[in-house]
């Protein structure tokens, strides 16, 4: 009996860190998310891809609490987050970055992290990790857009997230910066953080993700490995269009 129970424990996968079920989000008559599901396990990097307007950022906004869903459930580590405001989801362990960085313009680089940092977080170490330690005392307006993106990432990290939602961080980065960011994200996953990465740069997605979810018109049209996604007829059609019918 005891042995059987132990064997069950070995074979049962751990429950997902993030479980999103049947999320619907409407803006007036437009349905941006149409009953989408998503699960992310601790230490897993899930790529969220799809054409513009497919609902990727809307899903990130709903999960992080910036938008409220019309229907569906969201739970983190088994705890329901449905209906919680954004600051309480942050406290529960959800961190995020923004497609266009949103720094606190009147604060210094270091203060941008101080306002968000949980007790015991070594802000200087996080700043050094994103190579912004030299700019710590400077106004955030002195930073270029790439540095502001890294500051956005650092600000999410000082909240000690268990789930990190990364919205188009790679856009505008050169190959060296891309490689460094990819390495950092992999290190975060290795430390047990679950990541959802929204990205258009497929080589970047391929270098960091375990699996991808392809979205179109607010629905999942594919879930699996990226190399399989590019063979999928629906995915190809969404990105490249349907083939012209051959005249008889």
């Amino acid at each position: 009996m005891a042995d059987g129970a132990r064997a069950d424990t070995r074979t049962t996968p751990p429950p997902p860190l993030l479980r999103v079920t049947g999320i619907v989000k409407r803006f007036g008559g437009f349905t941006a998310l149409d009953g989408i599901d998503l699960t992310v396990r601790a230490g897993e990097i899930v790529g969220l891809i799809g054409p513009n307007g497919s609902g990727k950022t809307t899903l990130i906004n709903v999960v992080s609490g910036l938008l409220s869903a019309n229907a569906g459930e969201i739970s983190l580590d088994g705890r329901s987050l449905t209906g919680l405001p954004a600051h309480r989801r942050s406290a529960a362990g959800i961190g995020r970055t923004f497609q266009i960085p949103k720094p606190f313009a009147s604060l210094s680089v270091r203060q941008n992290l101080e306002v968000a940092a949980r007790d015991g977080v070594d802000i200087d170490a996080v700043l050094a990790d994103v190579e912004l330690d030299r700019h710590a005392a400077r106004p955030v307006s002195d930073l270029n857009s790439v540095s502001q993106k890294l500051l956005d990432l650092a600000r999410a990290l000082v909240t000690r997230p268990t789930l990190l939602l990364v919205d188009e961080l790679a856009c505008g980065l050169n190959p060296v910066e891309l490689a460094r960011v990819a390495e950092r994200l992999r290190a975060l996953a290795a430390a047990g953080i679950g990541l959802v990465v929204v990205e258009h740069l497929m080589s970047f997605i391929d270098s960091i993700t375990d699996r991808v979810v392809v979205m179109n018109a607010g629905r999942e049209i594919f879930g699996g490995r990226l190399r399989d996604a590019v063979q999928d007829r629906d995915v190809v059609e969404v990105f490249l269009g349907a083939p012209e019918p051959v005249a008889a």
């Binding site: 910036l66 600051h87 942050s90 949103k102 313009a105 203060q111 306002v115 968000a116 949980r118 600000r155």
Partner: protein, 306 residues
């Protein structure tokens, strides 16, 4: 945090209080001195909400009037001593702030105009003839309260110390830093774990209470008044202009605004009102063009350039 708080209070608040405390011996115009402190409190009170949450309430005078009438109605209808009535004035403004808290859902000019409408609505309720038995209605109030100029002046300075102490604390504390972050970008502040609504509400209520307390002291010093006198929009406009002129979000800015602009008003505004309007207009134009963050921003610029 403690070091910065001590430095700011030692450099700004302490000298100001000393000057205000000795002024009655140097300058024999008690009414003017009290008015200076009243405007200092109003400017710093407005600084609390605008400087730390970005909300500019054009109807700020509503809290001042609520405080004045809270004081007056307490004395008219109860046997409470004037000091307790001053506290009731503060509580009346606090309650008005709570009732108007949903206005914080609005942004920018919409918020400003809604707060102005709310202040006007409150004035009309108090001035309602049908409520004359309770509020005095359009005929105002005439309070039978002992004239205590030294006490009211000291009380006003005490309120100023409290409000400026709060501003100095907000400038140096993590709570204040989080408020400034939420003012800069409420969306990323929320995702960084900052309770934006709570922070805004705290400074909004503190700002309302400050105006209510000083409104009560004002009513004590001038115990016969009409609703128009304590709900006069000029109080809002002066508080806003003084704060913006000196620099919102700073401790010294509103003080500079009151000293320069209220000083100019009293030097040339009374004797030559035409020239005063001209000088005032030019000063504000120069401010908007060259120092949009207020005169106090000069010091920040010098530190950065140096």
């Amino acid at each position: 945090m403690r070091k910065g708080f001590v430095r700011e209070t030692a450099l700004v608040l302490l000298p100001l209080v000393v000057v205000l405390a000795v002024m009655p011996w140097l300058y024999n115009n008690q009414l003017l001195l009290l008015n200076i402190v009243v405007f200092l409190v109003l400017a710093q009170g407005l600084n609390l909400t605008y400087g730390f949450s970005g909300y500019l309430p054009f109807g700020y005078v509503g809290f001042f009037g609520a405080g004045a009438y809270g004081f007056a109605l307490t004395l008219m209808h109860t046997a409470a001593p004037p000091l307790l009535a001053v506290l009731v004035g503060g509580v009346a403004a606090l309650l008005a702030g709570l009732v108007l808290a949903p206005l914080l859902r609005l942004q920018g000019a919409y918020f400003g105009l809604a707060s102005l409408a709310a202040a006007e609505a409150l004035r009309h309720v108090i001035a309602n003839q049908d409520l004359s038995e309770i509020t005095g209605g359009p005929y105002g109030v005439r309070l039978d309260v002992p004239f205590r100029p030294v006490l009211t002046y000291g009380l006003a300075i005490g309120i100023l110390v409290l409000v400026m102490g709060l501003v100095a604390w907000l400038r140096q504390s993590r709570f204040g830093l989080r408020l400034r972050a939420a003012r800069d970008n409420p969306v990323s502040a929320a995702t960084a774990g900052i309770d934006v609504v709570h922070g805004r509400l705290v400074v909004w209520l503190a700002s309302a209470t400050a105006a209510g307390l000083i409104g009560a002291v004002y009513a004590w010093s001038a115990p016969t008044f009409f609703p128009e006198a304590v709900f006069d929009l000029s109080f809002s406009i002066f508080a806003i202009v003084f704060t913006l002129f000196g620099g919102a979000g700073t401790l010294v800015g509103p003080v500079i605004g009151v000293v320069v602009l209220y000083g100019a008003y009293n030097v040339i505004g009374v004797s030559a009102p035409k020239y005063f309007q001209l000088v005032y207009g030019l000063l504000i134009m120069a401010l908007v063009l060259f120092f949009p963050a207020g005169l106090a921003s000069l010091a920040v610029r010098r530190r950065r350039d140096g």
